[in-house]
């Protein structure tokens, strides 16, 4: 009996009229938890009842506390007939179970009915008294925190990153039970909502237990998904990364440093670190890594790889060597200890069943090398034979999945296990011992299910993975990690044992090790990555027709098509990347959806130009019939067009290769070294230019032959992509390289489109064109809608495709538009970088706040003896000159920004009703919420893990909600669009209400996991299921924090902290 849940029903408002005669309602409330139900008195004849009930107390196990939601039903009392339900509120009380999260839930919740939508609001107060249970065999895992955020949450520090946790729960879907034929749609929907709420509660509890077993206290990057498998049941599965987190006591500038570091790759400041190192052991890094200097891959088409999995044993034997090699790259004379530790890590990871991490961005120094994307897919048949217990004869009992389907999760588990093994072996083949940015997804059509898993093979630093290591290593932090700016690009695999052919070239930043010519990853751009110019969203889109068939035949057909689909998506991505003049993809997400008669593939990623990687070659067009003169002309005209586009894109994304050289000059690195490097970068950039013109004959130029219809198709998709309109940027990652000064104006949105293909006789080509246009038009619409926010960047553009019916394609987009200050000069920009970088460093130094000068100094003692004091002093001497060289310039831009800020503050103050409050005053936040005029507090929502210009002071708990909405009067509700529009707005409203009730004012890492829409216009019916998740937080405005910022010589101390 370790918990007491208390609930109080305060009041209702805006209730619907339930009694037509009086135009009023006699409302009362049922409060249910588990099997206990309480009722309030009837408040007669009012649409704004004041129940002010007593405290209803539930004495329950903490196991139940985790699994069950508090269920509040508002009813209309009727003397003669059955009471009519007005609607329900489900409250997940999980946030109350952790001492660090919310302490009370109090606020107005929309009363939701699955048929009518929101029908008024109810004010509820919920508290939990928890008694500690130290029983080791307990089944509950209260207190384990869950975060959707795929990075270490902003006000925490990762002490240990334990690793991958997963769990899966199966039950039969109430929608497919026999009783569904006789009950009302409302009852069926509610049963489903409740079941899923219960299942996710159970899932979270089970994962929590695993985390406790591992010694962790939190799950980061928690990703929960539903598979609606129809007749064969309902699967709820989740993956995450177990961590031990420690709350940062300082709280102050840390997370703002984190996010500004996010938004500004370190450049100048990092330079001294490896600049110092380089002369000291220019050779040691070479010879000590004979096995190193590796190959590259970007992509591993699943099918071809899954064949290799049997041979991956040999790969495994290779890994320790590569691991040592990569250790050697950074290790110096003091090496042995480090190598030992490295081996420990290696073995620690080795021992782990799946060295996977769902995180996409990492604490500095965590990620050593990145090899490329690994992915695996498998096609499965959802056969009812797998779960015979789920026959239609079983009587209806909502919660007995534990008895009925005990063996069922095993099947699903085994499927995923297979896939994960495959991923693991792919990673090994790439010389990596871990997979980061890992995610899993499914696509189901009838009885065929495609399971997909993907991630990025990587080599990690051990220090976060083991308990003991941290203290030892924190002292050697700097020399332990590879050069931060480019280190992660260095290939971890062995050049002689390349898993597949790839071109390697020396790193353009440090020239010590090899880098691939292109890098594909599923993670976010590392905070310290050196990037030239800005990034952009790159999408590959593909449709493939498929014959309609059943069962096994269908599955075979799909699995035969898959590798081709993936290959083509990959080619398209590569082409588009080159067309943008870029050389790396981040946040790659490939979705393949299966429909009855087609497969749809959509790959989205953010392209960037990594300074460390060689400049991409052009695209060369070749015709097969060279004798035909007109044809030649055609070819050359296309060639010209492509070349023009590349040049234009370089201009657009500010990829000026020569500017890299200037940056190098500006950076405080030792003179002699700098000269040579400068020279090289010059030569490279001239290479670059000539490449454009003379792309023929260049070995890395990409050749497209346009005789072949596929190539025509490629070309078509290549050239039809419209560039983003001026003032807009887009990416699907957390941050956009090259944009630093966000304003506080953010606008999260969801857009859904369903496209009907009327023409039955479509070719692949025609289908592709349609799909392409659909996505392009959707993007154009977004740009148009958000034109008032210009200059702005659409971040975390998350596309999901589905094929809900025969001839329908559904595309859903969720993203956030964030505006930024445009008129920053290059100099201000640079200063901002240096500044934020300094903060980033300060962050790694456990939040000690260093003045700028200290940093340069702190770097030099850490560098090995041979580095020479003269280098240190040199860097010392140069740094200020960089700062003051364009003082006036910056001052003017500063004034400009102040003006802008004043402007945005004015705007901001309208949007944010709650004034910034210091930490620990969440309660008072709640009390100030009701101010005259508007009693509704503003809740911001964003798919990102941070809020620009603000500091997250507290995480209140995970938001994970599932809603069903159904209508039998589709036309009356404005057709399908009207129906879905209202539903999405309602979902937003309910998320906001829950966050506000927890005392929060924002949701970060928000995502819409599922949006299943079904319609039957003939019957005037439609149904939609939406699953959303995110982290409820309290943030305060940066202006509050400015006093905390370190004092520096910069004229604009808050340059990088947008207002």
């Amino acid at each position: 009996m370790p918990g007491k849940l208390k609930a109080k029903i305060v009041a209702g408002r805006h209730l619907p009229v339930m009694d037509r005669a009086s135009d009023l309602t006699d409302a009362f409330v049922e409060v249910k938890f588990g099997n206990t139900t309480f009722k309030t008195d009837v408040f007669p004849k009012s649409l704004n009842p004041q129940w002010n009930s007593e405290w209803f107390k539930f004495e329950v196990d903490d196991e139940d506390l985790q699994d069950e939601p508090l269920q509040i039903t508002v009813l209309d009392h009727d003397t003669y007939s059955a009471n009519d339900a007005i609607g329900k509120v489900y409250i997940d009380i999980d946030p109350l179970l952790s001492s660090e999260a919310a302490t009370v839930i109090s606020g107005w919740f929309p009363i939701y009915d699955t048929i009518h939508g929101i029908r008024g609001e109810i004010n509820v107060l919920v508290k939990v008294d928890l008694f500690n249970d130290l029983n080791r065999f307990r089944q509950s895992s209260c207190g384990v925190r869950f975060f959707c955020t795929t990075s270490i949450p902003l006000c925490y520090r990762a002490v240990v990153v334990h690793g991958f946790v997963e769990e899966l729960v199966v039950n039969e879907d109430p929608e497919y039970q026999w009783i569904d034929r006789i009950r009302t749609p409302r009852a069926s929907n509610e049963a489903r909502q409740r079941l899923i709420s219960l299942m996710s509660g159970e899932l979270q509890r089970k994962i929590g237990l695993k985390v406790l077993e591992m010694g962790g206290n939190a799950v980061v990057g928690y990703l929960q998904c539903f598979d609606l498998e129809g007749e064969s049941g309902l699967v709820v599965r989740a993956i995450g990364t177990a961590c031990t987190l420690e709350k940062l006591s300082g709280g102050g500038a840390t997370n703002n440093a984190q996010h500004t570091a996010n938004s500004s790759p370190s450049k100048d400041m990092k330079e001294p670190v490896f600049g110092d190192e380089c002369p000291s052991n220019p050779l040691s890094s070479g010879p000590s890594t004979p096995l190193r200097a590796p190959p590259f891959t970007s992509f591993s088409p699943s099918k071809s790889y899954s064949r290799q999995s049997s041979s991956s044993d040999t790969d495994i034997s290779l890994t320790p060597k590569t691991g040592m090699g990569s250790g050697g790259s950074a290790g110096k004379e003091a090496g042995p200890l480090k190598i030992l530790l490295r081996q420990q890590t290696q073995t620690a990871l080795e021992q782990r069943e799946f060295p996977f991490f769902t995180l996409t961005s990492f604490p500095q120094g965590f990620l050593l090398h990145v090899a490329g994307v690994v992915s695996a897919r498998s096609v499965k048949l959802l056969d009812r034979i797998h779960n015979p217990a789920l026959g239609s004869t079983r009587s209806y009992k909502l919660l007995d999945w534990s008895s009925c389907s005990a063996d069922e999760p095993e099947t699903r588990d085994a499927w995923w296990e297979e896939l994960r093994q495959e991923i693991k072996s792919h990673a090994r083949a790439l010389g990596c011992h871990a997979v980061v940015g890992y995610s899993e997804s499914t696509s189901i059509c009838e009885e065929v299910c495609i399971l997909s898993a993907s991630g990025t093979a990587a080599v990690l630093n051990c220090r976060f993975l083991q308990d003991g290591c941290l203290d030892v290593l924190s002292e050697h932090r700097c020399d332990d990690s590879a050069p931060p700016g480019c280190g992660f690009c260095h290939v971890p695999y062995d050049e002689l044992n390349m898993p597949f052919p790839a071109q390697l070239s020396p790193c353009c930043c440090c020239h010590r090790t090899k880098v691939p010519d292109v890098l594909f990853t599923t993670i976010d751009l590392p905070t310290d990555a050196q990037v030239t110019g800005k990034g952009c969203l790159i999408q590959a889109r593909l449709c493939r027709l498929k014959k309609k068939s059943q069962g096994e035949g269908n599955a075979t057909c799909i699995s035969n098509l898959l590798p081709f689909l993936e290959y083509e998506l990959h080619t398209q991505l590569l082409n588009k990347l080159k067309l943008c003049g870029m050389n790396a993809l981040f946040g790659l997400c490939i979705q393949i959806s299966v429909g009855e008669n087609m497969l749809v593939g959509l790959a989205s990623a953010t392209g960037v130009y990594l300074s460390a990687l060689p400049s991409p070659g052009g695209i060369q067009i070749a015709g097969k019939t060279p004798n035909d003169l007109t044809y030649d002309q055609h070819v050359s005209s296309i060639q010209r067009k492509i070349n023009d586009t590349i040049v234009k894109n370089r201009e657009l994304y500010e990829i000026h290769i020569t500017e890299v050289a200037e940056d190098v000059i500006g950076s405080p690195i030792p003179e002699p070294r700098q000269r040579s490097r400068l020279f090289r970068s010059h030569s490279e950039s001239s290479d670059e230019l000539s490449e454009l013109d003379l792309s023929h004959g260049k070995k890395d130029a990409f050749v497209l032959e346009i005789d072949d219809t596929d190539a025509v198709e490629d070309l078509h998709s290549l050239l039809t992509d419209a560039p983003t309109p001026p003032g807009f940027y887009s990416c699907n990652t957390e941050i956009m390289p090259g944009i630093y000064n966000w304003t506080s104006a953010i606008q999260m949105f969801t857009s859904v489109r369903v496209f009907r293909l009327n023409n039955a006789n479509l070719t692949n080509l025609g289908l592709n064109k349609i799909f392409n246009e659909l996505c392009e038009n959707l993007l154009k619409s977004l740009y148009f809608k958000l034109r008032s926010m210009v200059p702005c960047c659409l971040c975390r553009l998350n596309f999901t495709v589905a094929v809900p019916e025969d001839e329908l394609i559904q595309v859903a987009v969720t993203a956030v538009a964030m505006s930024f200050h445009k008129d920053q000069t290059q100099e201000a920009n640079k200063a901002a970088q240096a500044h934020s970088q300094m903060k980033a460093i300060a962050e790694t130094e456990e939040q000690l706040q260093f003045p700028l000068e200290l940093n340069a100094e702190s770097a030099s003692p850490l560098s090995p003896k041979g580095s020479g004091p003269q280098d240190g002093s040199n860097s010392h001497g140069r740094a200020p000159s960089v700062d003051y060289s364009s003082f006036a310039d910056r001052c003017s831009s500063w004034i400009e920004q102040l003006r802008l800020r004043a402007h945005t503050i004015r705007r901001g103050s309208i949007k944010t009703s709650s004034s910034p409050l210091p930490e620990g005053r969440s309660r008072s936040l709640r009390s100030t919420r009701s101010f005259p005029g508007s009693s509704v507090s503003v809740v911001k929502m964003t798919p990102l893990s941070f809020i620009p210009g603000a500091k997250i002071v507290k995480y209140l708990g995970i938001i994970n909600m599932f809603f069903i909405r159904e209508t039998t009067s589709l036309r009356e509700e404005g057709g399908v669009s009207g129906f879905l529009h209202a539903f999405i707005a309602e979902v937003f409203a309910m998320v906001r209400a829950h966050v506000a009730a927890l005392g929060g004012n924002a949701v970060v890492s928000y995502s819409m996991k599922e949006c299943v829409f079904m319609e039957n216009p003939n019957k005037n019916q439609a149904q939609c299921l939406i699953n959303v998740s995110g982290d409820a937080v309290i943030f305060t405005r940066e202006s509050d924090q400015e006093g905390h910022l370190p004092q520096t010589s910069h004229p604009q101390p808050t340059e990088d902290t947008p207002p």
């Binding site: 408002r13 805006h14 107005w108 929309p110 929101i118 609001e121 419209a722 309109p725 606008q747 999260m748 949105f749 969801t750 857009s751 859904v752 489109r753 369903v754 496209f755 009907r756 293909l757 009327n758 023409n759 349609i770 038009n777 154009k780 619409s781 977004l782 740009y783 148009f784 809608k785 958000l786 034109r787 329908l808 559904q810 309208i910 949007k911 009703s913 005029g933 508007s934 009693s935 509704v936 503003v938 809740v939 911001k940 929502m941 404005g974 399908v976 669009s977 009207g978 879905l980 529009h981 209202a982 999405i984 707005a985 309602e986 937003f988 409203a989 309910m990 906001r992 209400a993 829409f1013």
Partner: protein, 420 residues
Amino acid sequence: MSVELDVFVGNTTIMDQEVYQLWLSGYTVGDAVKVRMDGGVLDGCDASAEVLRSDTMDQFRTFQMCERLLHNPAKLANQLLFQIPPDRQAMLIDRYYAFDDAFVREVLGKKLSKGTKKDLDDVSSKTGILLKSCRRQFDNFKRVFKVVEELKGPLVENIRQHLLLSDRLARDYAAIVFFANHRFETGKKKLQYLTFQDFAFCAGELISHWTVGAMDNQLEDMDVDLDKEFLQDLKELKVLITDKDLLDQHKSLVCTALRSKTKVFAEMEASFKNLSRGLINIAAKLTNTKDVRDLFIDLVEKFIEPCRSDRWVTIDVNLYLTHYINSAHILDTFKHQAVWNSLWDELFKMLTDIQHVTVCFLVKMGMVASGASAAAEGTRATAASSEEPVPVHPTQFTTSISFSFRDMLNVGCRAWPHSG
């Protein structure tokens, strides 16, 4: 190949004021897209008409969903469905409740009933305002009327508080409600030259001086009903025309005062009895509901038109009225101390003061419009005369009210230029 479903939902509801206006004006999506295209929204954007259509559809849907909330503006502030910044909320409400002067001129003084609503298509074709917009405006009138019908206290304040409207709109709605309640005749041809703002000004004056609320410190009842007692008292003014002696004395007093002050003195002298009779008769008949309805038309017929035919200008009207009241006051003190007690005496002084303010104000306006035709001047004169009966009323004034009257005039002063 068609887009089956297309929605965009922002966490902060995105609303374009221009699109909102198109929606309010009753445009269909197709027409709105055309208007927007012609307006050049797409200039500088790489977007097709399809994109514009999708955007327009989205916003129209949003507005439609908001409409339910706009019917009860207080709800808009604490609803949870749409996250709308307070300044936007205010904009939404104000624009929703805004109305076309042309439309309101058609409906002003009519009963806000289903019958009137049925005739809206005629109004629509007459004014060129789309039927949908007419219906919205009509429903707004009706809604506001219903909300304040049962409420106590000052009318303008009630409207402002319960419907969260701006000062100006609240004042206009008060006028609409007041006119609808008394069903003042405003549609006659002779009244056509008057704008809504002219009537709104009159309504403001009537509300502050003739209603029950104006009498008893706004506690007892609402502002909508005219004070019966006061109307009854007005009957006593008849003595000014029925008593031959009085009438003559009054005339001579006025004429003495006016002599050599105006070009139209001869006409004034000639028509004094007629005009005085006309005014007093209107005042005396006001106990009759039917005559209340005809107040404005009577004023025009019995007072304004004779003045105009004699080619008076605004200044003349003002002068005349000032002295008419002043002299009546003197008359009373001399001749009828038995009838007019000393309190009334005091009040009369006050009246004169107020009349003076009014006249000054009107003269000013008249001067502004002096270049205009006699008809335009007539407009001003009507406005002046419409509140002319006010000063004749002897019971109500206290100092505080006189100040509120001044305030009213100031507000009216701001509103005035728009009415011309």
